[in-house]
Symmetry: C2
Subunit: 306 residues, 2 copies
C-alpha cells in the first residue's frame, strides 16, 4: 500500500493531507507566506510520513506542459513573491518523491469525479465561486488543458450599468464574470460580505443572473453533462436554485435536451466533497505521479482518464 | 481502395462529394427542399457510385448519441419540415452503406485537422461566422460532444445599446453572439449585406469587437492552441486582423502564453480548405463509418482521434 500526500495550494493557505480518500484523510494547513517558508512548513508536515508521491492542486496560472522548461512553475500570478516559483520542483526536491501538479480547480474536478458529484460523468465542469471564479473541465473523461489551462472566471458577460452601477473589480478586465460575481465583487457592491446579505436581498438575484450567464457560455461551448458549483459564495443554500432557474430562463428552450431541461436539479449540483474537493483531487494527482514514476505499475497509459 | 461519399447538409443546400481528399473530390450540390426530395436528389447523385460509406456534416441540432433512439436525427431545428427527421437513417436506407454523422462545424473541424489549418493541433476550435455562428471544438485530439454538442454562437456577450442600438436578431436569445454578429445581423443593422460594407465602415470595428468577445470566452474556457475562423462574414480580408488585435486588447495581457501573445497571426487563422472544410470533414466521417463497420479494419478503437 502506497502512502500518498496531497496539497491544495491556495493564495491564502496551503491545505496538506495524507491518506487514501474521503474516509481516510489526515489534514493540516499553513498560511501562504513566502514561497520558501511555505514549502518549509509543508515539508515539515510531510516529513513525518514515508510518502511515495505528492499531488498538488495549485492557484495559477501554472505551467502544466511537461516538455516546458518551467513545467510545474506558478507563472504570471499577481502575487509577486510567487511569480515564476518552481512549486512542483521545490516540493519534489524537498521530499524526494514524484510530484503531480495541476490547477486547484482541475484538482477539484478530479476529486468530484472520483468520489463526489461527478462520479461516472465523462463530460462535466467544476466551478468555484469564491475569492475568485475558476473552473475545471473534463471532456471525454480527461481534464482540458490546451495551451495553458482554462481561466473560466475571465469570460465577458453582459453588464447593464443602469441596473448594476458597480463597475467590476477585475484588475485585468474590470467587469468580466469574476469581476462582477466573485465574493469580493459582492462585498464591494453591497458594502458587506456575501454571507451577511439576507436571502431575499436583490443582490442574490443579480448574482444568480451573472452566474447563469457564465453557465450559458459553458453549456453552449462544452455541452457538459453536469455542472458542479462549489466555493464560498455557493455556500448560501438559496443561491443554487436561483442559478438553475435563471439558466433555464436564459437558454429559453434552445438546448432541448432532457438531461438539462427535465433534470436541472441533477444538472447543476453542489459538490459532494464540501471544501475538500481540491485536496482530495490532489490525492488523485499523487496517485498518477506514483503510478507513472513506478515502472512496475506504469503499465496504464500515462493518461488522465478519470 | 474504398469509395467514400460525403455530404455537407446545410439549411439552404446539400453539398455532396465523392473522393479521397482535397486533390480528389468530385462535388455536386442540391437545394435543401423537403427532407424526402432532398434525400432523393442526394441518393440519385451517389447512386452512380459504388460507395462503401457516407459521412454527413449536418445543420443541427443533431442527435449524436449512438445509444439514443433518435441517433442521427435532426432534432429541434426551426426548419419545421426537418424537425426530428432521421437524416442518417434515410441516407443509410437509401444507399445501403454505413453512415457517419456529426454537426457541420464538427465536420469542418475534422476537415481542417486532417488537411487544413489545424493539422497536428490536438486542441483547437473551428468557427464559422455566416448565416449563423457555430463552432466545433477538439480537445486532446477528439471532438467535443457532451450532452448535445456545442452551440457556440449562442453565448451571451456584452452589448452596449448606446453604442449599438440594433437589438439583436436571435429568435431565442435576441442579442447572443449570433444575434449580434452573424451575417443577417450585420445586414439588419446596417441595411446592406456584409460584403457591401466598405472596409473602413465602423460596422467592422463593432463586428471585430463582438467576435473577439466570443473568442475571449472560448480562450478562457477551452484554452485552444489555435482558432480557425471561417464562414461567409470572414471572407472580408480586413476583418481577421481586426479580430486578432481586439482579442489581445480584451485579454489585456492576462493569458501570458507565448503561443498566443507572440504568435497571434498563427493563433487566430483562416481555414485552409476554403468553403470545403465541412464537406471534406464529412469524408473523414465516412472513413470512420467504413472502418468501424468493416470488421477487417475495425481494429482501431471506435474512436475519434484525429
Amino acid at each position: 500500500m502506497s502512502v500518498l500526500g496531497c496539497i491544495e495550494a491556495g493564495g491564502t493557505k496551503f491545505v496538506c493531507g495524507v491518506g487514501s480518500g474521503p474516509e481516510d484523510l489526515k489534514l493540516a494547513w499553513f498560511p501562504t507566506s513566502s514561497p520558501e517558508a511555505t514549502v518549509e512548513s509543508v515539508s515539515a508536515f510531510f516529513g513525518n510520513h514515508a510518502l511515495d508521491a505528492v499531488g498538488i492542486g495549485s492557484f495559477g496560472p501554472v505551467d502544466l506542459h511537461p516538455e516546458s522548461p518551467t513545467f510545474g512553475y506558478i507563472t504570471s500570478t499577481p502575487k509577486l513573491e510567487w511569480q515564476f516559483f518552481d512549486l512542483a520542483g521545490a516540493i519534489r526536491r524537498s521530499l524526494g518523491v514524484p510530484v503531480g501538479i495541476d490547477t486547484d480547480v482541475n484538482a477539484a474536478a478530479l476529486g468530484e469525479a472520483r468520489w463526489g458529484a461527478a462520479r461516472g460523468v465523462t463530460d462535466f465542469i467544476y466551478l468555484t465561486i469564491g475569492t475568485g471564479i475558476g473552473g475545471g473541465a473534463v471532456v471525454h473523461g480527461k481534464l482540458v488543458h490546451g495551451l495553458l489551462h482554462p481561466e473560466m472566471g475571465h469570460i465577458r458577460i453582459p453588464h447593464d450599468l443602469a441596473k448594476d452601477p458597480y463597475p467590476g473589480g477585475c484588475p485585468y478586465h474590470t467587469d468580466c464574470l469574476e469581476g462582477l460575481a466573485s465574493g469580493p465583487a459582492l462585498e464591494a457592491r453591497w458594502g458587506m460580505p456575501a454571507q451577511q446579505l439576507p436571502p431575499d436581498h436583490p443582490g442574490w438575484v443579480l448574482e444568480a443572473h451573472y452566474l447563469a450567464l457564465g453557465l450559458v457560455s459553458w453549456v453552449c461551448t462544452l455541452s457538459p453533462r453536469r455542472i458542479v458549483m462549489g466555493g464560498g459564495v455557493m455556500q448560501q443554500p438559496h443561491l443554487l436554485p436561483m442559478v438553475r432557474r435563471e439558466l433555464l430562463a436564459l437558454l429559453n428552450g434552445y438546448i432541448r435536451v432532457s438531461g438539462l431541461i427535465d433534470n436541472i436539479d441533477q444538472y447543476v449540483v453542489p459538490p459532494q466533497l464540501g471544501n475538500r474537493s481540491g485536496v482530495l483531487g490532489a490525492l488523485v494527482l499523487a496517485e498518477r505521479a506514483h503510478r507513472n514514476a513506478d515502472p512496475r505499475t506504469a503499465t496504464a497509459p500515462a493518461g488522465e482518464n478519470l
